[in-house]
C-alpha cells in the first residue's frame, strides 16, 4: 500500500506520522516543492528576526524521516490523474499511489488591488515569501501592511525589528475586531503605537504605485493619504490553496470538499488542513479551519481515516493562542467579536482589564454556563478551561475556581483575586 501526501506542512506531517504508527509496513511518500524537510511555518518570523536559523525551525531532525521510513520528495505535483491513480510531477517521474492526501495548505489573499503584482508587494505565508522578504528589505526604510490580523502584526514586528518603519492600513475600526471583542482589540491598537508603529484604522488600500523598474514606491489609501514605502505587506487573510484540483473531478467549494473522515468525492483521495472544506458537520455550515492546531488535529484524524479507522473529526472546544509583539493572547471556547457577528443566545460578558493595559480577562456566559474565555497577558491552563466549557460549569463556579486556571510562570504577580472581586461586582 502506497500513501502519497501532497504537502509537508503540519497537516501532511501529522497524517504521515499517524499512518506510520498505525501501519508499520505501508509505504509513505510526502511531496513538497517548497522545502526538503518539514518546517514550522510560525517560525518564519523568528528566522527573519534572527531569533533562530532555518535549521532550528525544523521540528524533527533530518534523520527522523529515514528512521521512520517516511519518504520525502522535493518536487511539485502538476496534476492528479485519479483514474490511473498517479501524479504527474514537475521534474520527476510519475508517482503511483493507492491512497492520496491533499494537504496543500492555503494562499495569501490578493484582493485585486491596482499594483498588487509590483516587486515589493507580498504576503507572508511560505518559504518563497520569506526569501522574497529578505530580498525586498534591501534599502527599504518604510513599509505598509494591509489588513489587521495575526500575520499582519507578525509581519509588522518583523520589519520593525530591522528598523523599517511600519504603517498598518486596517479596514475595520479597530485592530482585528472581526475576531476580538472591542476592548481586547483596543489593547492591540495601543500596543502598536507603543511599539512605535503607525495605525490607520477604518482605512483601506486604494492603489499601489510603482517606479519605472516595477518596484513599489508608495500607496494611496481610501482617505486619500499618500504613504511612501518600499514594501507592501498584503495580509488580508488566506484562502484554501486548491490550484491543483481546480477544474478537476474532485469536488471543490472554497476548499476541497470532504466529509468528516476527510474523504473527498473521489475514491481513495483525502484532503485535510487549511485546504479542506468539511461538509456535514450537522449545522449546515461548512467548516474551513486555518490555524496550526486544527491543521495538526485534522492531519492526525485524516491519517487514521486513511489507515482504515472509523474516525470522525470532532473539532472539540475551540482554542487558539498568539502573541501580539509582546502581548500574549489565548482563547478557549466561544467569544464574540466586536461586531457581534456570532449569534450567541443570552450572551453576557464579564471583562476585567488591568490599568496598565497589559493584562485582561473576559468570561463569556449565557447566565447559566461558561461559553468562552479570552486572556491577554495572562496564561491560562488549557486542560482546566476546556473542562469548564465542556462540562458547562456556571460562571459562579469559574469565578470561585479561577486561580486553578492560571498558568503564568512562578513568581509572576497573580491577578485572580483582583479579577474575581471586580467581575463579581459587575455581576451584581
Amino acid at each position: 500500500m502506497h500513501v502519497a501526501i501532497i504537502g509537508n506542512g503540519i497537516t501532511g506531517v501529522s497524517a504521515a506520522i499517524r499512518i506510520r504508527q498505525l501501519k508499520p509496513d505501508w509505504k509513505i511518500t510526502m511531496i513538497s516543492g517548497e522545502s526538503d524537510f518539514h518546517f514550522s511555518r510560525p517560525s518564519l518570523m523568528y528566522i527573519y528576526m534572527g531569533h533562530m536559523r532555518y535549521r532550528e525551525a525544523k521540528p524533527y531532525e533530518n534523520s527522523f524521516w529515514e528512521r521512520n521510513d517516511i519518504g520525502l520528495l522535493r518536487d511539485w505535483v502538476l496534476e492528479i490523474d485519479s483514474g490511473a491513480k498517479r501524479l504527474l510531477m514537475h521534474s520527476s517521474d510519475l508517482i503511483y499511489y493507492d491512497k492520496l492526501l491533499i494537504a496543500t495548505g492555503s494562499k495569501s489573499n490578493k484582493l485585486g488591488w491596482p499594483g498588487q503584482d509590483l516587486k515589493g508587494v507580498q504576503g507572508l505565508y511560505d518559504l518563497m515569501d520569506l526569501r522574497e522578504l529578505h530580498e525586498n528589505s534591501e534599502g527599504v526604510k518604510s513599509a505598509v501592511i494591509v489588513g489587521g490580523g495575526l500575520i499582519g502584526i507578525e509581519l509588522g514586528e518583523m520589519l520593525h525589528s530591522r528598523g523599517i518603519h511600519v504603517t498598518f492600513l486596517v479596514r475595520e475600526d479597530s485592530y482585528w475586531d472581526n475576531v476580538l471583542p472591542a476592548e481586547e482589540s483596543a489593547l492591540i491598537n495601543g500596543l502598536i503605537e507603543q511599539e512605535g508603529m503607525e495605525l490607520r484604522l477604518g482605512t483601506e488600500l486604494k492603489e499601489i504605485f510603482g517606479d519605472r523598474s516595477g518596484r513599489v514606491r508608495g500607496v494611496e489609501t481610501s482617505t486619500g493619504e499618500l504613504i511612501d514605502c518600499g514594501i507592501v505587506g498584503l495580509t488580508a487573510g488566506v484562502s484554501p490553496n486548491i490550484d491543483l484540483v481546480r477544474d478537476h473531478e474532485i469536488p471543490t467549494g472554497r476548499g476541497v470538499l470532504v466529509d468528516s473522515g476527510f474523504r473527498t468525492g473521489v475514491e481513495d483521495i483525502y484532503s485535510a488542513g487549511d485546504c479542506a472544506e468539511i461538509v456535514t458537520l450537522g449545522d449546515g455550515r461548512n467548516l474551513i479551519q486555518q490555524v496550526w492546531y486544527t491543521g495538526k488535529m485534522q492531519g492526525k484524524a485524516a491519517g487514521e481515516s486513511i489507515s482504515g479507522l472509523d474516525t470522525t473529526y470532532e473539532p472539540g472546544v475551540w482554542y487558539n493562542s498568539a502573541k501580539f509583539v509582546n502581548l500574549e493572547y489565548q482563547i478557549y471556547g466561544t467569544v464574540n467579536n466586536a461586531q457581534g457577528t456570532l449569534e450567541i443566545k443570552d450572551e453576557q460578558n464579564l471583562y476585567w482589564e488591568h490599568p496598565n493595559k497589559k493584562h485582561a480577562l473576559r468570561l463569556v456566559h449565557d447566565g447559566s454556563k461558561i461559553l468562552g474565555i479570552n486572556t491577554m497577558g495572562l496564561r491560562y491552563r488549557h486542560r482546566v478551561c476546556e473542562f469548564w466549557i465542556k462540562e458547562k460549569r456556571s460562571v459562579g463556579y469559574v469565578l470561585d475556581n479561577l486561580k486553578e486556571a492560571n498558568f503564568d510562570p512562578e513568581f509572576f504577580r497573580r491577578y485572580e483575586s483582583e479579577i474575581v472581586g471586580n467581575l463579581k461586582e459587575q455581576q451584581t
Binding site: 534572527g50 502538476l78 530591522r162 509582546n326 496564561r379 488549557h382 498558568f407
Partner: protein, 465 residues
C-alpha cells in the same frame, strides 16, 4: 494548475539558509551609552597599565581605578540599553550577530576565555600583576595577601554581577528570571566569595558552603576530611557535617520538591556564571539526538569515575595503602587534572561562545548527574505542556542551554521530564503561546501525557516516533 512562481522555487534552504536581511538603519547609541562604553574602554586601559609595577598597584586607589570604571561602565551600559525598551523577549539578531553566532568575534572570545583558564591553572605566575592589584581587598576580607585563586574568585564574581545586571534588565517583566538571577548573584557574592575569605580571616579553613561533593570532589576525600576534622575551633567538624548533609540529604530531598533547579540555576556558582555571563550564547548548545547520547554517556561516566576515585581513596586511607597502593592517589590527581581543571574550567567556561553556556553542566558535572537522576525518577518537578497549544516554533529548543529538544515533547502535548533540565525557565519565557510552565505538581499526574521513565529511556534509544 499551480502557479509559475512556486514552480520557479528551487531554493536550497538546507544549505543556504536565510542570510541577515539588511537593516533600514542601525540603532544609534545615545550619548550616555557611548559614554558608558567609553568608560569600559578606559577601564580596560587603566587595568592594563596598573598590571605593571606602578606605585598604585597594591593600594586601594589602584584597586578602585583598575576595576570600578569597567564594572560601572558595563553595568551602566546594560542598564541604558534595555531601560527604554518594552519588556519582552530580546532575541532579535542573535543569529546575525557575529559574537553570538559562532562568528569570528565568538571565536576570539572563546580563545581569550580558554586562554585565561590555561594561564590560571598552569602559569599563574603571569597573573602576578592582577593578583597584586586585588591585594587590598584580599587583606580586608581574608587578612592575607591575594593569591591567583583570590583574583579568579574576584573576577568571576564581578563578571557574574555585571552580566547579572544585564539579565535583570533583559528579563524585565519576568519575575522568575529576575528572582533567579538575584539568587545566583547572592550565592556567588556571599557564599562563594565573601564567606570563604572571611573564614580565613578568623583562621578557619576556607570553605565553600554552596559547593559540595561530587562537584567539589575533594570535600569528601579523606585528606580534606581529616584536615577539617583537625582544624581548631570545631568549625571544621561542622563543615564536614554540612558537606555530608548537602550531598546526601539536601540533594534527594530538595530535588524531590523543586527539581534540580534548586541548585543548578539558583545556587551553584558554575550555573550562576552560565546563566549570566553565558546567557548571550545559550542558543549555541547542540540539540541533536547524537549530542544527547554523548551527553548521557559522558556525564554518567564522570559520576562513576569520581565515585570510584573517592571510594578508592577511602579504602586506601582505611587500609593504610595496603590494598591499592599508589593507585588511588594517582587517580585523584588525574581526575583533578582532566575533570577538575580541563573540563570544568577550561572547557566549561572557555567554550561558552562556541558550544553554549552549559558545556560542563551538561556533559561533565557529576553533581548535575546525581541531581538529574533524582529529578528524572524521584521528583515532583516537571515542565508542564499546556494542552495542545504548541505550534512547534522551536524557540524553547533553540534557547535551551542544556540542549534539550523541548519542542519534541511540547508538540506531542507531553510534559518535559528530563534529567538534564536545570530549570532556568527560559523555554517558558520565550514561548510565544504560553505553552510551558515549570512547576512541582503532584507526583501522580507527573507522567500524564508524558512517557513512563523506563519506557522513555528504551524509546529514546530505539528512536520511536
Amino acid at each position: 494548475m499551480i502557479d509559475a512562481r512556486t514552480l520557479d522555487h528551487q531554493y536550497d534552504e538546507e544549505n543556504l539558509g536565510f542570510p541577515e536581511p539588511p537593516k533600514a538603519e542601525e540603532r544609534k547609541l545615545d550619548i550616555w551609552e557611548k559614554l558608558s562604553l567609553s568608560l569600559v574602554g578606559l577601564g580596560v586601559l587603566i587595568f592594563i597599565v596598573l598590571l605593571f609595577n606602578t606605585p598604585l598597584r597594591g593600594t586601594w586607589l589602584g584597586f578602585i581605578l583598575a576595576f570600578a570604571p569597567m564594572v560601572a561602565g558595563g553595568a551602566l551600559y546594560f542598564w541604558l540599553s534595555y531601560k527604554n525598551t518594552v519588556p519582552g523577549i530580546k532575541n532579535d539578531g542573535n543569529f546575525y550577530k557575529n559574537i553570538t553566532s559562532r562568528g569570528s568575534l565568538g571565536w576570539v572570545a572563546g580563545i581569550l576565555m580558554t586562554g585565561f583558564y590555561i594561564v590560571l591553572y598552569w602559569w599563574p605566575q603571569y597573573l602576578e600583576g592582577g593578583v597584586r592589584l586585588v591585594d587590598p581587598s584580599s587583606y580586608a576580607i581574608s587578612g592575607a595577601p591575594a593569591t591567583h585563586w583570590f583574583l579568579y574568585g574576584f573576577i568571576y564574581t564581578l563578571a557574574l554581577i555585571v552580566f547579572g545586571i544585564r539579565m535583570l534588565m533583559r528579563y524585565r517583566g519576568n519575575r522568575y528570571q529576575q528572582i533567579r538571577t538575584l539568587s545566583v548573584m547572592f550565592f556567588q557574592l556571599g557564599f562563594a566569595f565573601i564567606l570563604p575569605n572571611v573564614l580565613m580571616l578568623f583562621n578557619q579553613p576556607e570553605y565553600y558552603f554552596s559547593y559540595f561533593w561530587p562537584l567539589k570532589y575533594d570535600y569528601l576525600f579523606p585528606g580534606t576530611v581529616s584536615y577539617l576534622a583537625n582544624s581548631p575551633g570545631g568549625f571544621g567538624v561542622f563543615f564536614i557535617f554540612w558537606g555530608l548533609v548537602m550531598s546526601f540529604l539536601a540533594v534527594p530531598v530538595l530535588t524531590y520538591f523543586f527539581g534540580k533547579r534548586w541548585y543548578c540555576s539558583w545556587v551553584c556558582g558554575c550555573g550562576g556564571l552560565a546563566e549570566t555571563l553565558g546567557d548571550p550564547w545559550r542558543q549555541l548548545s547542540d540539540k541533536s539526538l547524537k549530542a544527547w547520547r554523548i551527553e548521557r554517556w559522558m556525564i554518567h561516566s564522570v559520576l562513576v569515575l569520581i565515585v570510584i576515585v573517592t571510594a578508592s581513596l577511602w579504602i586506601n586511607s582505611v587500609t593504610q595503602g595496603k590494598v591499592l597502593g599508589e593507585f588511588s592517589g594517582g587517580a585523584a590527581k588525574w581526575y583533578g587534572f582532566f575533570i577538575g581543571a580541563i573540563f570544568s574550567g577550561v572547557v566549561g567556561v572557555g567554550f561558552y561562545p562556541l558550544m553554549g553556556s552549559r558545556v560542563w553542566c551538561r556533559f561533565g558535572c557529576p553533581l548535575a548527574a546525581t541531581l538529574g537522576i533524582f529529578q528524572r525518577y524521584f521528583s515532583k518537578f516537571r515542565i508542564t505542556t499546556n494542552g495542545g497549544q504548541c505550534m512547534s516554533c522551536g524557540n524553547c529548543s533553540t534557547y535551551c542551554e542544556m540542549g534539550i529538544d523541548v519542542r519534541a515533547y511540547a508538540q506531542k502535548g507531553k510534559n518535559i521530564i528530563r534529567a538534564s533540565c536545570v530549570g532556568c525557565g527560559v523555554c517558558s519565557a520565550v514561548c510565544p503561546s504560553g505553552v510551558l510552565k515549570l512547576e512541582g505538581g503532584s507526583f501522580k499526574d507527573r507522567y500524564k501525557g508524558a512517557d513512563k521513565p523506563v519506557q522513555a529511556f528504551i524509546d529514546s534509544i530505539k528512536h520511536v516516533p
